[in-house]
């Protein structure tokens, strides 16, 4: 029996996956906090594994502390998506501070990819800030947008400017729901324009925390005029890919057959 661990130290959350002979035996999501290595230590304490691979923005820091291999989150998300869905040809990943579009070739290998530029405009963090500015929790924010009958257009994608735009919309008497929808629409448009820069496969997976937002998903699907596949826990895709990154082709192939994660294995900490 081999146990492989994958840890994705993202800007907002840390995700840990344990793969037990190709079967997910543990999936944990925790807040990154100001001390990500302490969170990693907590998550890993008492766990047994033969190999651990780190991905995400904190991968280098983690690899130094744990003396392990790393993989870029771009390749990790490709590997994880392919493991979950062998027909997946494109992955859209909306994370805390970046958005990635990753394509896989026919053999499932990493092909062309695109990423947003240095600032977090149009990513998960932007949505969180905007939700806060409207005094919504993140879940309420998406639900409110879905309930809106009209939308208020926002022009600015910079969190600072968008917030002042939002304040002036509120001052003009616009409804919170309409503003919430407008914010989702503007992010969807930005994501769609990034997606236009790459040729999309037939089967698209939507991963990352952004995939948990039903309004964002609906807007992007409307723009693409097709459905995207959202896995049961879209946030763990890169961590899963990390767990697979240094495994053999055979181990990975095994995984396709054995995979059956159960929902109660996914725990949210913090």
């Amino acid at each position: 029996m081999t146990i492989q661990a994958g840890i994705d130290i993202g800007s907002r959350t840390i995700k840990l996956i344990m793969l037990n002979d190709g079967r997910i035996s543990k999936a944990v999501v925790a807040d990154t906090t100001f001390d990500p290595m302490a969170v990693c230590r907590d998550l890993l304490s008492g766990l047994d594994y033969q190999r651990i691979t780190a991905t995400g923005y904190g991968r280098r820091l983690f690899a130094r502390a744990w003396t392990c291999k790393t993989v870029s989150e771009i390749k990790a998300v490709a590997l994880g998506a392919r493991f979950l869905m062998s027909s997946c040809g494109t992955v859209l990943d909306v994370g805390g501070q970046d958005t990635k579009i990753v394509t896989l070739d026919a053999g499932g290998k990493l092909d062309k990819f695109l990423m947003n530029d240095r600032c977090a405009a149009g990513t998960g963090r932007f949505l969180e800030v905007m939700a806060g500015a409207l005094s919504f929790t993140y879940d309420q924010f998406s639900a409110a947008a879905l309930s809106a009958t009209r939308s208020e257009k926002l022009n600015s994608m910079c969190a600072v400017f968008a917030e002042s735009e939002l304040i002036s919309l509120v001052a003009q008497g616009a409804s919170r729901e309409a503003i919430a929808l407008g914010i989702h629409e503007s992010i969807a448009i930005r994501t769609l324009s990034l997606m236009k820069g790459i040729s999309l496969a037939d089967t698209i997976m939507f991963a990352g925390g952004g995939a948990l937002n039903p309004c964002l998903r609906r807007q992007i699907e409307a723009g693409l005029d097709r459905k995207m596949h959202v896995p049961e826990n879209p946030r763990i895709v890169a961590a899963l890919g990390a767990a697979l990154a240094h495994s053999s082709e055979e181990e990975r192939e095994n995984g396709y057959r054995q995979f059956d994660v159960v929902a109660d294995q996914i725990v949210h900490v913090g």
């Binding site: 923005y57 870029s72 390749k75 990493l110 990423m115 530029d117 240095r118």
Partner: protein
């Protein structure tokens, strides 16, 4: 390094700011270059040059000026060194490869000006570029909009700015313009130096500059070996020093390295393992100390095998024919040579794409990293079609647009690592 404080003071440099610059440059050089493993012995010459880049070389320039020679400074590969050498002048590249005094530069320029132009202004305003201070004449050139408009403002920062016009289309009209401009420049060089451009001197100058380019061609060719015998960073450094050093000494030093690399190649030795992913860097120039992206690439498990860049093969690729029996004929040869440069200021610019493809093939690159300095419209606009054309031919491309700041290092690293993973298959 000897104490050059007195020289720098006499040149009007801001000693405090200049010390700070040298401190940063020194530690950056150490981290980026000296920590590499398996460097050729011959690179010690370049380590020395870099340690004396604001010292001994500047002293040479100042001594040359005392001896009556004229120093011309430039920012562009379109300024023909042959003409300057023909009157026993010296041509040097000017500092534009780092962000210095950006707030001061932004008082004179819009924020969305490219880092190279802003860097040149920062160095000039802060009085920390001894090459600028040593130059009798600064030669500007109308390449991109950013540069040609900036020279209107830069004029106030230097004692003598000469601006050369350049064609934007490779037509007969464009060629005529280049010829007229080179003749006008030749007249200016004669006036400044008080010497006529003579046939023999110009011929000799052509040989000197050709030898320098040929040494770079030899170095480039050796990099086609797998494993690569020299790192891309070290080869880039040679391309950068190309603009500063005494040309004949530079040629000799590059050839010494090439001798060493030849035996390395024969022994099958390299700076990385055989089969290491090989990357061609293409796009905007990287002036000293702009090593951010190459350093990320070579610390991500890949090796750079060529630079399709002004600081690289775009600048060095053609020789000037020395054949001709008059100064007029040789100037025509110079026009021939420089008119072939495939800078993105030309429209259209199809030969650049062909050159990238040829370099990929010749140097056995697995992929191309297309590098742009933000707000460089010519290369940024060209990058889309170049990327699509290369990918169509099965050549993987990663586009990186950045500036001189370090804050996006980790974001770029993620992309570069993923690109290397893509190349590894």
């Amino acid at each position: 390094m000897a104490d050059y404080t007195e020289m720098w003071r006499n040149m009007g440099l801001d000693l405090k700011a200049h010390d700070a610059l040298l401190g940063v440059l020194g530690s950056l050089y150490e981290q980026t270059f000296l920590k590499q493993s398996g460097r050729p012995e011959g690179m010690k010459y370049f380590d020395f040059v870099m340690s004396e880049v604001h010292g001994l070389r500047i002293k040479e320039l100042m001594d040359a000026r005392v001896a009556g020679r004229k120093v011309f400074g430039s920012f562009c590969v379109f300024v023909p060194e042959e003409l300057v050498l023909a009157v026993d002048g010296i041509l040097v590249g000017l500092c534009a490869g780092a962000e210095f005094a950006p707030a001061e530069a932004e008082k004179m320029l819009p924020r969305n000006t490219c880092a190279l132009i802003k860097g040149a202004f920062g160095f000039a305003i802060a009085k920390v570029c001894p090459y600028l201070a040593a130059a009798d004449v600064v030669v500007g050139e109308n390449t991109c909009d950013g540069k040609k408009k900036s020279y209107e403002i830069f004029r106030d920062l230097v004692p003598d700015l000469y601006v050369m016009d350049l064609p934007q289309v490779k037509s007969d009209v464009g060629r005529d313009l280049l010829r007229k401009e080179y003749k006008r420049f030749a007249a200016r060089i004669e006036e400044v130096s008080g010497r006529k451009i003579e046939l023999d001197a110009l011929k000799k100058a052509i040989h000197i500059v050709n030898a320098k380019r040929s040494a770079m061609h030899r170095l480039a060719k050796l990099r086609s070996a797998d494993p690569a015998p020299i790192s891309g960073l070290d080869a880039l450094l040679a391309n950068q020093v190309f603009f500063y050093d005494d040309p004949e000494r530079f040629t000799k030093s590059v050839n010494v390295i090439c001798d060493e690399l030849e035996s390395r190649v024969q022994r099958g030795e390299g700076v990385t393992a055989k089969g290491t992913p090989r990357i061609l860097v293409s796009g905007c120039p990287m002036a000293v100390p702009n090593w951010k992206v190459p350093s990320i690439i070579e610390n991500s498990g890949a090796v750079i095998v060529g630079e399709e860049s002004c600081v690289g093969e775009r600048g060095t690729q053609f020789l000037t024919s020395p054949e001709g029996n008059s100064v007029h004929a040789l100037i025509e040869n110079i026009v021939d040579r420089f008119f072939k440069i495939d800078c993105a200021i030309f429209t259209p610019n199809p030969s650049r794409l062909e050159h990238i493809k040829k370099m990929v093939k010749d140097y056995r690159a697995d992929g191309v990293l297309h590098y742009c300095i933000q707000f460089c419209s010519p290369y940024q606009i060209e990058s889309g079609p170049v990327e699509r054309a290369l990918e169509r031919d099965g050549i993987p491309v990663l586009r990186v647009d950045t500036d001189y700041s370090q804050e996006d290092t980790e974001q770029i690293r993620t992309r570069v690592e993923a690109f290397v993973e893509r190349l590894q298959g």
